[in-house]
């Protein structure tokens, strides 16, 4: 895998732990990317991989890999040709927590976007985000090149021994958001928080409606975030939405929205 990837992720309020959701995901992926084939699969935290098998993949998708009575799974499907790509599902036992949310994400090597590679990768990534939103009740989703995520979610600090460190730290979608990225998918909790009319007024390059969700796109692709005009547009959107939903850039303080409440997943 190249050092940089473009990642598309959707976090759900509902559970994605089912063969049905898995089957829908693979159907969606193969319809959007008919030229890409998964070859390997295995648990994310380990390096152990086995050959991808569609039927077995459905079993593995919903298999509990938790411990001490906590249900959870982190599983990944990988392809290598013509360039590396990963799809992963991370789910948790519904109703047993109020911190995590289930999610499905796909990472593509950035070189898919460079040169004479398979076409329309930007459009297809947007369609993937919209398609993923069909697989459950959406909390929040995003699409970004890793450099954008890292730039917007890292702080630089000086350690007591004089060395310099950079810390990259994401935000749990039930708690809030790191920033505005290339692609931003807001589910009902965030639409309610920001206000639908307020969201409609945000100046974005593109706005789409995916079921009851709102998708805001800034720039013509995941590499445009470095352009001053796009950064300004994103910053304006962030200020307009605000509602203490984002990390405070001046203090580094993370939001604490507690979406879903103390009773756990809805």
């Amino acid at each position: 895998m190249s050092a940089n990837t473009v990642m598309v992720t959707v976090n759900f309020l509902s559970s994605v732990r089912s063969k049905d959701v898995a089957a829908q995901f693979f159907e969606l992926f193969s319809s959007l990317y008919p030229e890409l084939r998964f070859e390997l699969m295995g648990e994310i935290p380990t390096s152990k991989r086995e050959r991808f098998d569609r039927l077995k993949a459905l079993e593995e998708w919903e298999r509990d890999r938790g411990s001490r009575g906590v249900a959870r799974a982190d599983y990944q499907f990988e392809g290598k040709s013509p360039l590396p790509f990963y799809a992963s599902v991370i789910w948790h036992g519904q109703g047993t927590h109020h911190t995590w949310s289930d999610s499905i994400g796909v990472q593509f090597d950035e070189r898919f976007w460079i040169g004479d590679k398979p076409k329309n990768f930007t459009d297809r990534a947007v369609q993937l985000l919209i398609g993923l939103a069909e697989l459950g009740s959406v909390l929040y989703g995003d699409g970004a090149h890793w450099s954008e995520f890292e730039e917007k979610n890292s702080i630089t600090m000086r350690l007591p021994d004089g060395r310099v460190a950079r810390e990259i730290s994401g935000v749990r979608p039930r708690k809030g958001l790191g920033d505005i990225y290339w692609a931003n998918l807001f589910g009902k909790p965030y639409i309610d928080l920001f206000g639908r009319e307020n969201l409609m007024r945000v100046e974005a390059t593109r706005m789409e409606f995916a079921r009851d969700n709102v998708l805001l796109i800034f720039g013509s692709g995941p590499f445009d975030w470095k352009r001053t005009d796009i950064r300004n547009m994103q910053e304006k959107a962030r200020l307009m939405l605000d509602r203490n939903a984002f990390v405070d850039k001046s203090t580094g303080l993370k939001p604490n929205l507690n979406i879903g409440g103390s009773s756990g997943a809805r």
Partner: protein
């Protein structure tokens, strides 16, 4: 592997380390990554 009880996990990595395997965890706020540079100046962005 993220802490299942909800605690934050911090990984210390060296500059240039491939973060791809843990990017999903970072993105979800499950894992923080601290990259420690041996000199007092960060490389150019």
């Amino acid at each position: 592997m993220p802490d299942q009880t909800g605690g934050q996990v911090r990984l210390l990595v060296t500059p240039g380390a491939d973060l791809t395997p843990v990017r999903r965890y970072i993105d979800l706020g499950l894992v923080d990554v601290r990259i420690v540079y041996p000199i007092a100046v960060l490389p150019d962005q």
